[in-house]
């Protein structure tokens, strides 16, 4: 399993760090988790065409996690995807997909016209709204969505991917959340977001304390470690 951090940034524009997006390549599948600013550029830099993405999984619908969807969707189609873009995400995902089609109706119509029409199926979006569950299983790789605590952004999900006896867990945006700890148990790699819009600096230290209190042990003794939001805003 190979994981590429395509974008590690926040909503603040940063030329070195683009919006949230993580590519997981497992058993010949290319799964994308979140779709932030600049995702198609980063995919290209990583040597992956947007048309190759087998599935997009959204942690939540904050704009910095989804603003790259039109580019992924339409560039992937333009570059040769001939089947629908599959998207899994929280409630609201289907509506967003439907409205994207409306927003880009002109471009879609023009590109489906003669003399060199793109395939109609390739511009479709197959959007599924999810609950906490195993939501993807191709026989080799499984992806499970689990609920995390992103405050008023509810529902918000993290994901666990298991393939060939190995696993990676992606936290999504969350403060301390026991559910994340439970799902991260036994994972080979835990990828955790570290930013929140908090005024208090180093809020994560409090979150770490929270982890320790909940487990009743020091963090180092917990079976799974979860980093909660770290705010460096001062």
């Amino acid at each position: 399993m190979r994981v590429t951090l395509l974008g590690t940034g926040t909503p603040f524009p940063n030329v070195e760090r683009f919006g949230s997006a993580i590519l997981v390549e497992a058993a010949s599948k290319k799964l994308l988790f979140d779709c932030g600013r600049g995702v198609v550029i980063r995919l290209t830099q990583a040597g992956v065409s947007p048309k190759e993405i087998d599935g997009l999984f959204l942690t939540h619908l904050h704009s910095d996690h989804v603003v790259g969807i039109p580019d992924l969707w339409l560039s992937g189609w333009f570059l040769g995807r001939s089947k629908p873009l599959r998207i899994w995400g929280p409630k609201g995902t289907s509506g967003m997909a439907k409205h994207l089609a409306q927003a880009f109706a002109f471009d879609i119509r023009i590109r489906q016209a003669a003399p060199d029409p793109l395939p109609a199926e390739g511009v479709e979006i197959d959007a599924k709204e999810i609950e906490q569950d195993e939501i993807y299983n191709d026989g080799s790789t499984r992806a499970s969505a689990f609920l995390v605590d992103h405050g008023t952004v509810n529902p918000a999900f993290g994901y666990r991917v298991d393939s060939a006896g190995h696993s990676v867990v992606i936290s999504g945006d969350t403060k301390f959340c026991q559910n994340l700890v439970d799902f991260a148990r036994g994972a080979d790699c835990l990828i955790h977001a570290a930013w929140s819009w908090l005024e208090k600096p180093y809020a994560a230290v409090e979150a770490f304390d929270c982890v320790c209190r909940r487990c009743g042990t020091g963090l180092r003794d917990c079976e799974a470690q979860a980093w909660c939001h770290l705010s460096l805003r001062r």
Partner: protein, 63 residues
């Protein structure tokens, strides 16, 4: 079972971030940067240097 590697992303500024985590967590972790790739198998290795590494320099962590 602890993760072989923790990875921090979605952060605004790495200054002080690693130290803040290290105060409370003694496992291996890195602060990721864009296009850093992690290979997960019996061992966990990374390609392209992270913004900061708090993990063995040889880039290989075995459980």
């Amino acid at each position: 079972m602890k993760p072989k590697l923790g990875v921090i992303y979605h952060y605004e500024d790495e200054e002080g971030l690693g130290e803040a985590v290290r105060k409370k967590y003694n496992g291996p972790f890195v602060i990721a940067r864009d296009l850093m790739a992690i290979n997960i198998g019996r061992t966990v290795t990374w390609e392209r240097e992270p913004a900061a590494a708090h993990a063995p320099k040889e880039n290989t962590i075995e459980r």
